[in-house]
C-alpha cells in the first residue's frame, strides 16, 4: 500500500490544533477545580480533627488511603513498560503512545506521594522520614524510589518535548502570548543540530536505562511494605512480581482510556489509529494473563497448604464477607475482560475503552482486597473494642479525601495534554518520512 507522505506543515497543524482554551476545556477544568475544592474541604476537616474522621482504627489502620496509594504507584508503572521496555526494543507502533504513557506516569507518581501524605495525621512531619528514616526500613526505600521515579519520568517527558516546543512555539496563537514565550525558553534553543540531538538522545537512553530498574523498584518496594510482614495474605515471596504484573494491567488500561479520549476530543484518529488500539488491546491481554498467572500462584499455594492463619484469611476472602468483592474483581475485572479481549472486535477503540474502564476499576478494588482483609485477621484476637474497630468501613470524609487524588491526577493529565502536543511531532514526522523539517 503506497502511503502518501504528509507534509510537515499538516502534521504540525494536526498535532497542535488541540492546544487552545476551548469552551469544553474550560467547563471540564471548572468541574475538576470545584470537585477538588469540595474534597479539599474534607481534607481540611481531617487536618483539624485528626485521622479519626476516617474509618481507619487501631486494627485496620491501612484503609483506602493505602490501597489508593498502591493503585497510584501501580498505574504509574506503564511509562516504564511502554517507553522503557518497548521503546528500547525498538517497537515502532508505540511512537504516538509514548508521551501519553509518560503523562500517566508523571501524574500518577506525583500524586502517589501526596496520597501517602493524606494518610498522615501530622503531614508536616513528612521530612522526618528522611531525617530519621532507617536504612533498613521499606518506608525510606519507598519514598526514595517514588521521588526518583517521578523525577525520571518528568525528565523523560521534558526531553522528548524539547524539539516539539522548538517546532511549535510560534504556532501557539490560541493561547495567551506568554505561552509561546515560555515554549521558546523551554525549547532550549533547539535547532535540530546534530550536537543537540546527540545530547538529547544520549540523555534519553540513560533515562530509559534508569527508568526500568527504578520502576521495578518502586512497585517491588511498595509490595514489600506488605510482604516484609508475617501476616497471612501479605507474607508472600512473589508479592514483588505480583504487584508489578498487576501494575501493567492498571497502567495499560489507564493509557487506553486516555488514548480514547485524546483521539476523540483532540481529533487524532489519523495518529491514534485502530491499529494502535488493537495493539494496546493485545498488550493488555498479555499483561493480564501474566497477572492472572501470579494470581493463581498467590491463592492456590497457600490455599493448598492451609496453614491456620492463611485458612482463616482465605475462607473470608473466598467465601466470607469479602467474597463478593473478591470474585467481582477477579472475574469482572480480570478474567472476563481477558476472554472478551481475545476477540478482534473487542479491541476496537470503543469496546476496548469500556473494557479498560472495567479493568481499571477492578484494579482499584483489587488493591482494597489486598490491603484491608489481612488486617481484619491479626494473629492475636481482637477483643475489648467496639464493632467499628473490627470491621472497616470508609467514611464519607475519607472517600472525599481519596477523590482529591483522582481530581488532581485528572487536572495534571488535562493540563499536560492540553498545553503541550500529546503526540510527539518531531518523532512522528521522522517516522512518516518527512523530508524537510522546518525550524522557525
Amino acid at each position: 500500500m503506497a502511503e502518501t507522505i504528509p507534509s510537515f506543515e499538516s502534521i504540525t497543524h494536526d498535532l497542535t490544533r488541540h492546544i487552545n482554551l476551548s469552551k469544553g476545556f474550560k467547563i471540564w477544568m471548572t468541574f475538576l477545580v470545584i470537585g477538588l475544592g469540595v474534597c479539599l474541604y474534607a481534607y481540611y476537616l481531617q487536618l483539624k480533627n485528626g485521622l479519626g474522621v476516617a474509618g481507619i482504627r487501631d486494627y485496620i489502620s491501612w484503609g483506602i488511603y493505602l490501597s489508593n496509594f498502591v493503585f497510584f504507584v501501580a498505574s504509574s508503572l506503564i511509562g516504564m513498560l511502554i517507553s522503557g521496555v518497548l521503546g528500547m526494543i525498538g517497537v515502532k507502533w508505540i511512537t504516538p503512545i509514548t508521551r501519553i504513557a509518560e503523562i500517566i506516569a508523571i501524574a500518577f507518581s506525583a500524586i502517589a506521594g501526596l496520597v501517602i501524605v493524606m494518610d498522615m495525621g501530622r503531614p508536616e512531619r513528612l521530612a522526618y522520614v528522611f531525617i530519621y528514616g532507617r536504612f533498613q526500613s521499606p518506608i525510606l526505600w519507598d519514598v526514595t524510589v517514588v521521588t526518583t521515579y517521578f523525577v525520571l519520568s518528568g525528565l523523560l517527558y521534558f526531553l522528548t518535548l524539547i524539539p516539539d516546543l522548538a517546532l511549535t512555539h510560534h504556532k501557539i496563537d490560541k493561547l495567551p502570548p506568554v505561552f509561546g514565550k515560555a515554549y521558546k525558553i523551554l525549547s532550549l534553543n533547539w535547532a535540530n543540530k546534530p550536537e543537540q540531538n546527540a545530547i538529547i538522545n544520549r540523555s534519553i537512553r540513560i533515562l530509559l536505562l534508569l527508568l526500568i530498574p527504578s520502576a521495578l523498584a518502586i512497585h517491588t518496594v511498595t509490595s514489600w511494605l506488605f510482604a516484609l510482614t508475617l501476616r497471612p495474605g501479605w507474607d508472600s515471596t512473589i508479592f514483588g512480581p505480583y504487584f508489578v504484573s498487576g501494575a501493567f494491567v492498571a497502567g495499560s488500561s489507564a493509557v487506553i482510556i486516555a488514548m480514547y479520549f485524546f483521539r476523540k476530543n483532540y481529533k487524532l484518529s489519523e495518529y491514534l489509529t485502530d491499529v494502535h488500539f488493537n495493539n494496546m488491546g493485545k498488550l493488555l491481554v498479555l499483561v493480564s494473563l501474566v497477572y492472572l498467572y501470579f494470581n493463581v500462584n498467590e491463592f492456590l499455594v497457600p490455599g493448598y497448604k492451609l496453614r491456620r492463619a492463611d485458612a482463616i484469611h482465605l475462607q473470608d476472602l473466598l467465601a466470607g464477607h469479602n467474597a463478593l468483592l473478591f470474585w467481582t474483581v477477579q472475574i469482572g475485572g480480570l478474567l472476563f475482560p481477558v476472554i472478551l479481549l481475545l476477540f478482534r472486535k473487542m479491541r476496537n477503540p470503543g469496546p476496548l475503552m469500556l473494557i479498560s474502564i472495567a479493568m481499571l476499576l477492578g484494579a482499584w478494588f483489587k488493591r482494597f482486597i489486598i490491603v484491608i482483609p489481612t488486617q481484619e485477621h491479626p494473629f492475636l484476637p481482637i477483643q475489648h473494642v467496639p464493632l467499628n474497630f473490627k470491621v472497616y468501613t470508609p467514611t464519607l470524609t475519607e472517600i472525599a479525601i481519596t477523590f482529591v487524588s483522582f481530581f488532581l491526577v485528572l487536572i495534571i493529565i488535562t493540563l499536560l495534554s492540553k498545553f503541550f502536543p500529546v503526540i510527539p511531532i518531531y518523532e512522528t514526522a521522522k517516522e512518516k518520512g518527512v523530508a524537510t523539517i522546518t525550524i522557525p
Binding site: 536504612f135 533498613q136 526518583t148 525520571l152 532550549l188 534553543n189 533547539w190 540513560i206 533515562l207
Partner: protein, 300 residues
Amino acid sequence: MDFKKCFVLFFLLTILPWMKISAQTWIVPDEAKTKVSPFIFTKETAEKGQSIYQKNCQSCHGIPRQNNPAKIIPDPGDPAAKKYQSQKDGEMFWKVTSGKTPMPQFQNILSEEERWNVISFVRSFNPEYIQPQPETRAGFSGKIIKLSINYIPDLKKIKVIAMEVTKDKKLIPSQGDKIILSVKRYFGEMQFGDPKITNQSGFALFEAPVDLTGDKEGKIELTARVDDPTGKVGDALAAAILAIGKPNTAPSLIASRAWWSTRKMAPVWVIATFSFAVIIVWGFIFYILLSLRKIRRIDL
C-alpha cells in the same frame, strides 16, 4: 451443608444448652453482696467510669440505654436495664471482679477504684438509684494493717511483716492475714508462689527465688498486699526493691548491626547498597540536567 452451617448447628446443639444453664446460676456470696463503694458516686466518677466502660465493656454490653449489646450467648444485656439495676452494688462489683466465662475477670485488669467508677457510670442511668452510705475511713470498722518487706539473707527468705494499727495508734502483730507477694515483670505483676498466712508475730515467710532474672544489678521489684475480697481490711500495700535476682547479662538487641536495629546500627551492606543506588541514579539525573544547559549553548 457448608462448613459454616455445620459449625453453627454444632454450637447450638452442644455448647448453647450448657451455657444457658450456667448463665442462670451466677451465685454471688452474701458477704460480697453487702460490699459498698468506698466513695460517693459523682459526675466525675461516672465520667471516669464511662471512659473505662468504653474500653472494656462496651464491645459486649453496648451503649447503656440503647439496648445494643453484642449478639452473643448468653446475652450480655444492657447495664441500664432493670435486670442490672435491680442488683446491689456489691453484686455488680463482685461480678465485674470475678467474671464468668465468657465475661472476663477484671480483678487483674482494673483496679478496685476503676471497677467502682464503672458501677458509678452504670448507676448514672438509673434516676431511682440511691447510693448506700459509703464505707468512709471514719466509720471503717475493719482493721488497718501496715505491711513491710524484708529479706533474710541467712535463710534466703523474704519476710513480710503485717502490723495492725490499733485505735490508739499502736502497732501490734497481725495474725492470720493472707499475704500475696508479687513481682513486677514486663507485663504486669507475677504472683510469687502461694499466698501465705501471717503467724503470731505477724510474719509471712516466702522462699526467695533462685533463678528469677532482675535488672542489670539483679534487682527485682516486689509488692505485698493482703488478700481481702470482702474489704474488711484497709488498703494495705508494701513495695520493695531487693537485689536478690539474677543479674540480667543479655546484650541489648540493638547493640549489634541488624535489620531490626537503629539507623546507626544498620548492616553496613544495607547502608552501602542504599547509598550507592541513590548516588548513582541521582548522579545521572544531575548529569542530564547539566547537559541540558549544553543544548542551549550550542546554538549560541
